[in-house]
């Protein structure tokens, strides 16, 4: 019987992280921006049917980048988690924070114990009744949770895109202005993105119950003035 080669834990973690990052970098990025009307989530996604952004619960939205089947599995698990919790307790007891923790546990567990880590980065966003109530949790492939305030960028080119969003960000952005900012940041200086290339959704602050609303391509194009 042959002895397995010894691999230092540092090396193993690094290899796994590199693998996950490479997978994530192959997909397109997405941006979420907090504005007075709510939280706008804008993803570069040429498909009309395979969603990157979706509804989890009354005031909670989900977005993912990377490998579709993996983040979609996480999305459905999140809906199940939220609906079960709301059914067992009450609707107001369903919170983004606890969901983000559950995701982090899951991703951390998979990162260290499974054959391969998940090649995804996800966002759990909860829109509050006021700005102080907004929560944005950016969760990485290894279970790291980052709590963001004004905006968040997910995906391979996150740093570059973040820089572009930070330059144009203003806390009083209207929804069309937020769309323009997000789209310009995703596109960069050399590309043009249209409504068809994008998936845009809004978590509306003033919604009575279900705050998640998808914006149609035409609405996005109107905001982009085309």
């Amino acid at each position: 019987m042959s002895m397995p080669f010894y691999v230092a834990p540092e090396q193993m973690m690094k290899d796994r992280a590199d693998f996950a990052r490479k997978g994530i970098a192959r997909g397109r990025s997405l941006v979420a921006v907090v504005c007075p009307t709510g939280i706008l989530i804008c993803a570069e996604n040429p498909s009309n049917t395979l969603h990157k952004v979706s509804e989890i619960y009354d005031r909670i939205g989900f977005a993912g980048v990377g490998k579709f089947n993996e983040f979609d599995q996480l999305r459905i698990a999140g809906i199940r988690h939220a609906d079960l919790k709301g059914f067992a307790y009450s609707r107001e007891d369903v919170e983004a924070r606890s969901l983000a923790n559950a995701y982090a546990q899951m991703l951390g567990q998979i990162f260290t114990h499974e054959m391969k880590p998940m090649e995804v980065e996800i966002l759990v966003a909860e829109v509050g009744r006021d700005r102080e109530g907004d929560e944005l949790y950016h969760i990485l492939y290894d279970g790291t949770v980052v709590d963001e305030r004004r905006f968040v960028v997910l995906g391979g080119e996150a740093e570059t895109i973040s820089g572009r969003v930070a330059e144009g960000y203003d806390s009083e952005l209207t929804v069309p202005a937020a769309i323009r900012l997000a789209v310009a940041a995703l596109a960069g200086p050399d590309r043009m993105l249209r409504g068809d290339d994008l998936e845009v959704a809004l978590l509306e602050r003033d919604a009575a119950r279900r705050a998640f609303r998808r914006l149609e391509g035409s609405e996005v194009d109107a905001a982009l003035d085309r």
Binding site: H51, S54, Q73, D83, F87
Partner: protein, 273 residues
């Protein structure tokens, strides 16, 4: 912990399976529970109008000969384009509504699109069928389901029996202890072209007559300001008719109702002389 499943055990968009696995659904009692003073809810009606449906229910809940609640709600939105109204054992009925509402929402979120109206009606039939062991111990629940069918652009309504039998009705349906009286009133007053206000009036008079004959059905209660719940479902979705509007329609109906009994019109509220 996150509910994660291997592909062969995945429950798909079915919330009831998840809830059952999580131990959140009650099992049927081992024996009859009639003697425990179970709260019952009674009369609800639904009928089709041009471009949609109207649903209405009285507000009384009884336990044996006692009135246990005067302002119970028996008409609920099931989702944006449909509603469910309940009669029978109140506790299990409200639980069934809660599960049904969540079942529809869960499906919509997981699948990214709503069930068809037919699919929703079948889901409810399955739930009533699954409830049969409870019904056999004296906890029967018999709902009405109505909604606006986006594909056909018309209102549709469904009646059930205790075994989960699902019967689509063309014009009107009623369930609960006063349903025989309520459905007769609707039957006699029904026209396909009822205006919105006429539809509210018809629903109110159906429930009034049911309350007049059946002790388990509550009539309008001007003393406490409690009136039947009336809702319309059409292309714009489920809308509950404002309580004040229902009260005003009822007051306007009083002279007619009194005249039918041969008594002088009572003076209730400000609008009546």
């Amino acid at each position: 912990m996150l509910p994660f499943f291997s592909p062969d055990r995945d429950p798909g968009p079915d919330f009831a399976v998840l809830a059952r696995n999580a131990g959140l659904l009650a099992a049927a009692p081992a024996g009859p529970v009639d003697h425990l003073g179970v709260t019952h809810a009674t009369t609800v009606v639904a009928f089709r109008i041009a471009g949609g449906v109207v649903m209405a229910g009285d507000r009384r809940a009884t336990a044996g000969h006692l009135i246990s609640h005067r302002d119970m709600e028996k008409v609920y939105p099931a989702d944006r384009y449909s509603g469910v109204a309940i009669a029978g054992a109140a506790g299990p009925a409200m639980e069934m509504v809660r599960l049904f509402q969540l079942q529809l929402e869960h499906y919509e979120k997981v699948e990214g699109r709503s069930l068809s109206l037919e699919g929703k009606a079948n889901q409810l039939a399955g739930m009533v069928r699954g409830h049969l062991p409870m019904a056999m111990q004296g906890l029967a629940v018999v709902p009405l389901f109505a909604g606006y069918d986006l594909a056909r652009a018309q209102g549709r309504l469904f009646q059930y029996d205790v075994t989960g039998g699902r019967y689509e009705e063309t014009n009107y349906a009623a369930t609960g202890s006063g349903s025989i009286f309520a459905s007769t009133v609707v039957k006699l007053g029904y026209r396909e072209d009822l205006s919105a206000d006429d539809a509210v009036d018809l629903a109110l008079s159906a429930l009034f007559q049911a309350a007049d004959e059946d002790s388990a059905t509550g009539g309008p209660d001007p003393v406490r300001g409690i009136y039947p719940i009336v809702a319309t479902i059409d292309a714009s979705g489920f809308t509950r008719v404002d309580d004040a509007h229902v009260a005003a329609r009822f007051e306007a109906m009083l002279p007619t109702l009194s005249a039918a009994t041969g008594a002088p019109a009572p003076s209730v509220g400000k609008g009546i002389r």
